[in-house]
């Protein structure tokens, strides 16, 4: 059969030889190629650092252990020529058979090795063409195989990465659950501890109040002063304990909302009265401007607490002789309450921070008055419970204005 037709059939065999692995892969392809000739040896060489290394060889269709390196005078001649297939005049001793062909293993311009064919037959143009085509296919097969290997390695790496990620995700999930449980424990602990702390406070506040009322006899001036100090400190402590109790309730989503129709004007006046000793002490004036005197649907205790927190903050951060304005009005069934002070104000960058837990702004911190740093967090949550929102406008050294908008609570 004509060598061109034969080699065409071989191409099919080589292409389908996809599961080839390593040395047997070259051997299989080379055996297929060598079947074209009665007697032939074929070797595959790959470029290495400086020279070539034999990757596989077949002689007369059998695996052949060739251990010799090709003389560089041959390879130099071959690589210096531009021929696709190069016929070499060789001494018979150097190769196994009389006639020898070289062809580069290359993909486009990139050469990575060569293939040597040695036969006894006279080399014809058809043999050259066939050999060139087969080596081309071999080149692609080799690269395909290499890419496949790379692909496999990368696939494996990807799979490992995915597994690793999944494992990490599991760990995070477990840790998250653990944290949630810890958080629950913490809230329960806080609720219990604040309850326990209130019991002895009851005695402290009660007895000091009993003495202050002088119901069991008169006190001298110093004694009366000290009793007042004890009362102020215990009320301060009570306030902080209540804040801790509140925040643990909020975090455990256990804050109950008990709305009823309340007279907001009355609540505001009540809180202003409660705080009188504080603002009188700093000679601060409170200007309350009420455009609305109707009723709103709200939780009485919580509205009182919101007002108490915001007003006591305003007093705390307003200098002696300053002013605080309270504006209460409605806008299409929405109730709006504004509390504005002429205090030290809050820098823009800190304005969103102040609603977060445990925040004390350094410049705002009144060193003489310690706090839990929970007041505004609680206030925000209490406003939220009423389906309302609280916003802040402030300028450093000029003052702050808190605006609360409660949707549709006007009765």
């Amino acid at each position: 059969m004509d060598i061109l037709v034969k080699s065409l059939n071989l191409i099919d065999d080589i292409i389908n030889n996809t599961d080839a692995k390593n040395i047997s892969f070259y051997s299989k392809v080379l055996k297929i190629m060598s079947s074209l000739f009665n007697e032939a040896s074929i070797g595959v060489y790959f470029c290495e650092n400086q020279g070539f290394s034999l990757q596989g060889a077949v002689k007369n269709n059998q695996d052949f252990k060739a251990d010799y390196a090709i003389d560089s005078t041959y390879t130099n001649k071959f690589f210096n020529s531009n021929d696709k297939v190069f016929e070499l005049a060789t001494k018979k001793d150097d190769f196994l058979f009389e006639n020898t062909l070289f062809s580069k293993l290359a993909i486009k311009e990139s050469v990575f090795g060569f293939c040597v064919l040695s036969i006894n037959e006279k080399i014809t143009q058809d043999i050259k063409t066939s050999f060139g085509a087969l080596v081309d296919i071999l080149s692609y097969k080799i690269k395909d195989y290499e890419l496949n290997e790379v692909f496999k390695i990368q696939l494996k790496a990807l799979q490992e990465a995915i597994i690793e990620k999944e494992n990490a995700y599991e760990v995070i999930k477990k840790q998250h659950k653990k944290l949630q449980e810890l958080d629950k424990t913490k809230n329960l602990f806080l609720a219990n501890i604040s309850h326990e702390l209130r019991t002895p406070l009851n005695a402290i506040i009660g007895f000091s109040q009993a003495l202050d009322n002088q119901i069991f006899g008169p006190l001298n001036e110093k004694q009366a002063e000290y009793i007042k100090d004890i009362q102020i400190s215990s009320l301060h402590l009570l306030g902080m304990i209540n804040e801790i109790l509140d925040i643990s309730k909020i975090e455990a989503h256990a804050m109950k909302f008990n709305p009823s129709e309340i007279d907001i004007d009355m609540v505001i006046k009540e809180v202003i009265n409660i705080l009188q000793p504080l603002y009188d002490n700093k000679n601060i004036q409170i200007e309350y401007n009420s455009e609305f005197c109707g009723k709103i649907m709200a939780d009485y205790q919580k509205i009182q607490q919101i007002l108490y927190n915001l007003l006591s903050n305003a007093i705390k951060f307003t200098g002696k002789g300053g002013k605080i304005y309270i504006n209460s009005f409605t806008e299409n069934k929405n109730y709006i309450l504004k509390i504005k002070d002429t205090g030290i104000g809050i820098e823009k960058k800190n304005q969103t921070k102040i609603f977060k837990k445990f925040v004390h702004l350094n410049n705002l911190c009144d060193k003489t008055q310690n706090s839990t740093g929970l007041g505004l967090t609680i206030t925000k949550e209490l406003v939220k419970l009423h389906n309302g929102k609280i916003t802040l406008e402030s300028e450093l050294n000029k003052g702050s204005e808190f605006t609360m908008e409660f949707k549709k609570i006007v009765v």
Partner: protein, 120 residues
Amino acid sequence: MKKILIVEDNELNMKLFFDILQFQKYEPIKTYSAEEAYELLKKESFDLMILDVKLPKMSGFDLLEKLQNEKISIPQTIIASACAMDEDKKKALEYNIDTYITKPIDINGFVKIVKEKLNV
């Protein structure tokens, strides 16, 4: 003299209630547990009861439940508790108790409430 039963397990809080009520010319009677109060309530009648919720073994609400089940009359009651839980307030209403004070108590407010209760 009006008889007021105090049910309170904390020694100092008991002393505070007792001293104030005595000073107001009432006749306070101390009980440190719901069980102790139950035994007294079976035998005697009182004008007013100051009841703590969290007590050893039997709670304040357990006491009210027991009295109601055994058809022993419950005197006018002021619940005084350290926990300001809304559920407790609702529970108190089930026994027709609408006066609930949270510890720490304000003495002046407490005296006023006691007076109001006893004048009804």
